[in-house]
């Protein structure tokens, strides 16, 4: 009986300390880890969208509460003017959600560019959406009023061969981004004033 109690006590105390140490460490590294994730997962997409921007689009960001989700919005400053905003949306792909960073030119109301951030698509097929820059380049400069879809669906994007589902996912994510932008337009405009 005594041994039994000792076993329970030792394991409990050990787990208690382990939990405490890890909770403390997690709290103290959380912010840094978030920054690293932004830099390495979303960073490349954001930077390629805002190529030639005069600021650091990863550092210049703000968040907006949109219903239940909080959206992080990156800002691209061109010639001293905050012209571009970028945020992430997603579309249903072949292997789960395809995360898409969508850059919008707030002055001309057009897409500044898109970039795939996370995906689970087939390597060599759907994964080309991320690895082949010529596919996402088609989205660059599309006007927001225009229908953003692959040619099969009456749009202007030619799908990656063998990966229509992925191409549709990217297009629907871009369309979603437009809807979100229209919804949050006034809030975004308010926030952008700070970056002048």
């Amino acid at each position: 009986m005594r041994e039994m109690i000792k076993m329970v006590v030792v394991l409990t105390v050990l787990s208690f300390f382990s939990g405490g140490v890890l909770a403390y460490l997690r709290n103290s590294t959380q912010e840094r880890i978030d920054n690293q994730v932004l830099e390495f997962v979303k960073g490349p997409a954001v930077r390629s969208i805002f190529e030639g921007a005069g600021n650091d689009p990863i550092a210049d960001r703000f968040t907006i509460q949109d219903g239940e989700v909080e959206r992080t919005i990156f800002v691209g400053v061109f010639d001293g003017e905050p012209r571009g905003v970028a945020f992430e949306t997603s579309g249903k792909g072949y292997g789960g959600d395809v995360g898409l960073m969508v850059g919008i030119d707030v002055k001309d109301n057009k897409l500044m560019g898109v970039g795939v951030t996370t995906h689970g698509e087939t390597p060599g097929m759907g994964a080309k959406a991320k690895s082949d820059p010529s596919f996402v380049a088609q989205y660059k400069g599309l006007a927001l009023e225009q229908k953003i879809a692959v040619t099969q669906d009456g749009g202007s994007i030619s799908a990656i061969s063998g990966a229509t589902i992925t191409s549709r996912a990217v297009s629907s994510a871009a369309t979603d981004a437009d809807k979100i932008y229209q919804k949050l337009k006034s809030q975004i405009a308010d926030n952008l004033k700070k970056f002048k």
Partner: protein, 204 residues
């Protein structure tokens, strides 16, 4: 016969070097040795866990009841592995992305548990520290050596540490990479050849 302190340390470097002599912990050995950088990163992470868990297990060896010792060791090891994981995410994110799932898997690496069970639970703190350090460094060096062979033949270059610009194109652009070596089967072949070499040298 008790070994001297130096022997405790040195044995991990040759006599008991984990992947080649004990043939233990092969999962990360085969999986991450695609580049020297990955091998070193994985080795250092494992070394940290080994040293810390060995010391803690050794200092608690009189308190931990025999029947639940494995559970206690796992709690201790898992804690240190999570520490490594968080720190790596915060300070070396690209490396974390490359090593990915293999960092949490250090918990079930039988070298770490094996050292706790076979050594640290029976020896003093300082000896356990030396043992962990020796085995850890031996593990790191063997990962680096295996990775060097695979990367050199498989890609024609060596990446030792990207952040310090230690990446070399050894054979030059004319070399046609034998990419079989950086794929999974190449890992087995390379490991087999290394084992063979180690045994040949050891025989003399």
């Amino acid at each position: 016969m008790a070994k001297s302190l130096t022997q405790e340390f040195v044995k991990g470097l040759w006599d008991e070097v984990p992947p080649f002599r004990l043939v233990l912990g092969l999962c990360p050995v085969l999986a991450v040795t695609k580049s020297v950088e990955n091998g070193i990163g994985m080795g250092l992470a494992t070394t940290f866990v080994l040293v810390c868990s060995n010391m803690l297990v050794s200092s608690l060896r009189k308190v931990i009841p025999g029947k639940v010792r494995i559970a206690c060791f796992i709690v201790i090891i898992a804690t240190f592995v999570t520490v490594v994981e968080l720190v790596m995410q915060a300070y070396a994110y690209p490396l974390f992305l490359k090593l990915g799932i293999f960092i949490p898997l250090i918990v079930v690496n039988c070298i770490v548990l094996g050292r706790s069970e076979a050594f640290a639970s029976k020896n003093g703190i300082f000896r356990s520290l030396l043992d962990g350090l020796g085995i850890g460094i031996g593990f790191t060096l063997s990962l680096a050596a295996l990775a060097a062979v695979r990367e050199l033949i498989g890609t024609g270059g060596l990446t030792i540490w990207t952040d310090w610009n230690l990446a070399f194109d050894v054979f030059g652009p004319a070399y046609k990479p034998f990419s079989f070596m950086v794929e999974a089967p190449g890992a087995f072949v390379a490991l087999g050849l290394m084992l063979c070499l180690m045994n040949l040298v050891g025989k003399k």
